[in-house]
């Protein structure tokens, strides 16, 4: 369909959640905004292929996800220690307890396999149905369900069960978090 004013407004209204999705996927704000920009360019360039009345956010998320996937594969070959260096920059930053808890969670999220991470975000944070998430990821509904379940149990293992040695916060951080009372 052509780009009407209301469609343009709807696309703009999707930007905040597209950014949140991009940041959750990439763990990097700058890269996430580049992804969102590329997504908007693609969407507007291919706006004729959008079916009026269909799910606009799902369509945009699909574009972003596919861009992230191709980008990820490319970068993987270029930069080997991407997540390692990111983890280090986080560890050297003193911040409030809420922020640290945030980063602890984000790091755990980054340890999930990509398939599981995106399924969990789409269903657990973006609020898509299992059906929409399956359409976005191009897989069966049952596959999404099992990925979400595996993601949840892995996160719970990383954060609350046996992640203490290789993942848990150091003593300073622990003291801050403990002091916050949750």
């Amino acid at each position: 369909m052509p780009l009407t004013d209301s469609l343009r407004d709807d696309i703009l209204a999707s930007v905040p959640s597209l950014r949140a999705f991009a940041i959750s996927l990439s763990g990097n704000g700058d890269r996430a905004d580049d992804l969102v920009q590329e997504t908007l360019l693609r969407a507007l360039a291919n706006i004729d292929s959008f079916q009026p009345g269909s799910n606009l956010p799902a369509w945009l998320f699909t574009i972003l996800r596919n861009l992230f996937r191709s980008d990820y594969r490319k970068r993987r070959r270029e930069v080997e220690d991407a997540d390692g260096s990111y983890a280090k920059t986080l560890k050297t930053q003193p911040a409030q307890s809420a922020h640290l808890e945030f980063e602890e969670f984000r790091l755990a999220l980054e340890k999930l396999p990509q398939d599981q991470r995106e399924a969990l975000i789409l269903v657990g944070a973006s609020g898509f149905s299992y059906e929409d998430a399956a359409a976005i990821c191009g897989c069966a509904v049952g596959t999404i369900k099992s990925r979400v379940n595996r993601a949840r149990s892995k996160l719970s293992a990383l954060l609350y069960v046996d992640g203490a040695e290789d993942f848990g916060p150091d003593e300073t951080v622990r003291a801050v978090i403990g002091g916050s009372g949750g």
Binding site: V36, Q37, Y160
Partner: protein, 72 residues
């Protein structure tokens, strides 16, 4: 948080997912996500869409649609 951690560090770890932990994970996931959502639409994106919504911008889009990666 400390309580949850120490309690579940006990043996018999993964005997079914603890509902409390699951709700905590769900909460943290949404908190992280909503933190970004609340930032709204950064100017660069509002501008981008405004700029592209012109005849010149449309011509540019034609090019962006073909290219795989225009930025790098």
């Amino acid at each position: 948080m400390k309580d949850v951690k120490s309690r579940n560090a006990a043996p018999g770890k993964q005997g079914g997912l603890n509902a409390e932990i699951q709700s905590r994970i769900g909460h943290q996931l949404r908190a992280m996500y909503d933190d970004v959502v609340r930032q709204g639409v950064p100017d660069r994106f509002a501008e981008l869409i405004r700029k592209l919504d012109t005849p010149e911008g449309n011509a540019q889009l034609g090019a962006a649609g073909d290219k795989n990666d225009g930025r790098e």
